[in-house]
């Protein structure tokens, strides 16, 4: 059974047709990449899946539940976690406090006016785990807004991970990063996919990363699915080449 199924999703903004009849099916444990030229609608597609707005037409099923009408926070609680193109974190708080909020919410303590000792121990343990996975232990008391781009991204991914998601949506995690940071993020994503068996849906521009990590790739252009397949199939696809490089690629 697919973990996520998007059926013929369409999104219109006034006269602008941003997403046109796009369908997608993601299996548990898969790492699916979505690529496409700028303006293809990739982030809009993510916004549909994660619930920032409702589709004009079409349906979204997650873990065998129809989530089309659900709010983002409701989808999060069902197991969908997401990062954003521009890192969304709590910039004035420390790395540790950022993660703490996420862990507490995930553990169901969002409304708790106090924490029992056992619960606190559990939360602290999980906190240590996440800090270690993201290589952030030494920076735990730094204001996350003051960290490097790569560390901020790692923190954001760890916050998403704190939610113990079934599906992780990563929107251009390496946007604006240099080679070393890109490598670090790629390694983190690979680890999460291979070791934790996390299902990941990834928007990316960095082709080396995409071809290295993805099980399958979907190409979007002008709001429509241009091609779908394994990295090899996509690399050989003429339409894809043309979409990226223009007519000169022919």
């Amino acid at each position: 059974m697919s973990l996520l199924r998007v059926k013929e999703a369409t999104k219109r903004f006034g006269n602008l047709l941003a997403i046109d009849d796009v369908s997608l099916s993601v299996e548990p444990g898969e790492l699916r990449a979505i690529i496409g030229p700028n303006g293809a609608g990739k982030t809009t597609f993510f916004n549909l899946i994660s619930g920032l707005f409702a589709p004009t037409a079409g349906a979204i099923t997650f873990a065998e539940r129809d989530v089309t009408a659900l709010l983002p926070e409701q989808r999060v609680r069902l197991g969908m976690a997401r990062t954003f193109q521009i890192t969304e974190i709590f910039p004035e708080l420390t790395v540790e406090d950022n993660l703490r909020v996420a862990v507490e919410l995930a553990a169901g303590h969002g409304l708790s006016p106090w924490l029992g000792r056992a619960a606190a121990r559990g939360i602290n343990a999980r906190l240590e785990e996440l800090l270690a996975t993201g290589n952030l232990t030494s920076k735990r008391n730094h204001r996350v807004g003051a960290l490097s781009h790569g560390d901020q991204r790692a923190a954001e991914i760890m916050m998403a991970l704190a939610l113990k998601p079934r599906l992780l949506l990563l929107d251009e995690p390496t946007a604006g990063m240099g080679d070393q940071e890109t490598y670090d993020v790629a390694r983190l994503v690979k680890r999460l996919h291979r070791n934790a068996g996390l299902t990941i849906l990834l928007i990316e521009h960095d082709m080396r990363l995409v071809f290295n990590l993805a099980d399958r790739i979907m190409v979007l252009a002008e709001g429509r699915v241009l091609a779908e397949g394994t990295p090899q199939e996509i690399a050989a696809n003429e339409n894809v080449q043309r979409a990226y490089l223009g007519e000169a690629a022919k």
Binding site: P72, E73, E88, L93, V101, L105, H109, L111, P113, L115
Partner: protein, 315 residues
């Protein structure tokens, strides 16, 4: 907790415990001290919503006033004791806050602020017009606070200014302790998360509107207790306690002292109350100077006193 914060906490506690004694030395009087504590509670309650959750309400006086009217009416019409009367005021205001809050949390930012202002006015007009029950523009008179009977002893808060001060301080202490506990809890952290980045908070699974509603209700609950105490202090309550200029005063107190610090609003309240008392005794045009304070604080001290000090300390 850093030693600096512990030192500040201790300093505040000591200052408050001894205020009636040093108040006179700086040209004040016990009633002024009591007013400082009451307004401090009001400002700190507002700050629960404003400074910690990042949501601006410019209509908190409505709930302050409701607390006052509730307590006053309980005493006047039903002869209730002091503590039950405070509870009555708090109940009335909290129910109102719960209902109104549910209506307005769908809006945010500028819009939310506007709506809180407007709703504040509803209660003002209610108090103003409903002469028979509220005494109208003249206010609710013909009642006074009663001594508190503990069974084994009586606390004469009627004539003894000192006793009243310490009673008010005790109520203040309980409220403030609960607020501090909430802020340091996972609940409190979730509110700060909303303030810091609403979108990220939403994508961590937080039901934002419901959470803001909760913060609003908690904030109004505590401000209504301050209102009840205010009525008790004056043996009087009138529609001015509900007016939006009082709401504005609460906000400036919080900002002036420092929105991002726990004790900031108390400090702001102390300064504001003292200033208002001093200026209004010196000139008829005190409104001008109070307005000037608003303008100066916004232009030159937006972080407030404790905010400025925190910066210096951290640097």
């Amino acid at each position: 907790m850093s030693w600096r914060r512990r030192a500040l906490d201790l300093g505040v506690i000591v200052a408050l415990l001894t205020m009636p004694y040093w108040m006179a030395a700086v040209g004040g009087y016990t009633e002024l001290a009591t007013r400082v504590v009451i307004m401090g509670l009001a400002a700190m309650s507002l700050n629960f919503l404003l400074g910690y959750t990042g949501v601006l309400s410019f209509g908190h006086a409505a709930y302050f006033g409701l607390g006052g009217y509730g307590a006053a009416m309980a005493i006047k019409y039903w002869n209730w004791g002091t503590l039950p009367a405070i509870a009555a005021g708090a109940l009335a205001a909290t129910v109102a806050a719960a209902l109104i809050g549910a209506l307005i949390v769908r809006r945010r930012g500028v819009y939310f602020a506007m709506v809180t202002i407007a709703f504040g006015q509803v209660f003002f007009f209610l108090a103003f017009r409903w002469n028979a029950v509220t005494g109208g523009d003249d206010g609710l008179t013909g009642w006074r606070r009663q001594p508190i009977d503990f069974g084994f002893a009586q606390l004469d808060i009627v004539r003894n200014d000192h006793a009243l001060y310490y009673f008010v301080l005790a109520v203040f202490a309980v409220c403030v302790a609960v607020m501090a506990r909430l802020i340091a809890s996972p609940l409190g952290r979730s509110l700060v998360a909303i303030r810091e980045n609403e979108r990220r908070a939403r994508f961590l699974g937080l039901a934002i509107e419901r959470r803001i509603w909760l913060s609003f209700v908690i904030s109004c609950f505590f401000v209504s207790i301050a209102g009840a105490l205010y009525a008790l202090l004056n043996n009087f309550i009138d529609p001015r306690a509900l007016r939006f200029d009082l709401s504005g005063n609460f906000v400036i107190m919080a900002v002036m002292g420092g929105m991002r610090s726990f004790w900031g609003p108390l400090l702001g309240a102390a300064i504001f109350v003292a200033l208002q008392d001093y200026v209004s005794s010196r000139t008829e045009n005190w409104m001008f100077f109070i307005g000037l304070v608003f303008v100066l604080v916004v232009r030159f001290f937006p972080r407030g006193l404790l905010g400025v000090l925190a910066r210096r300390g951290a640097a």
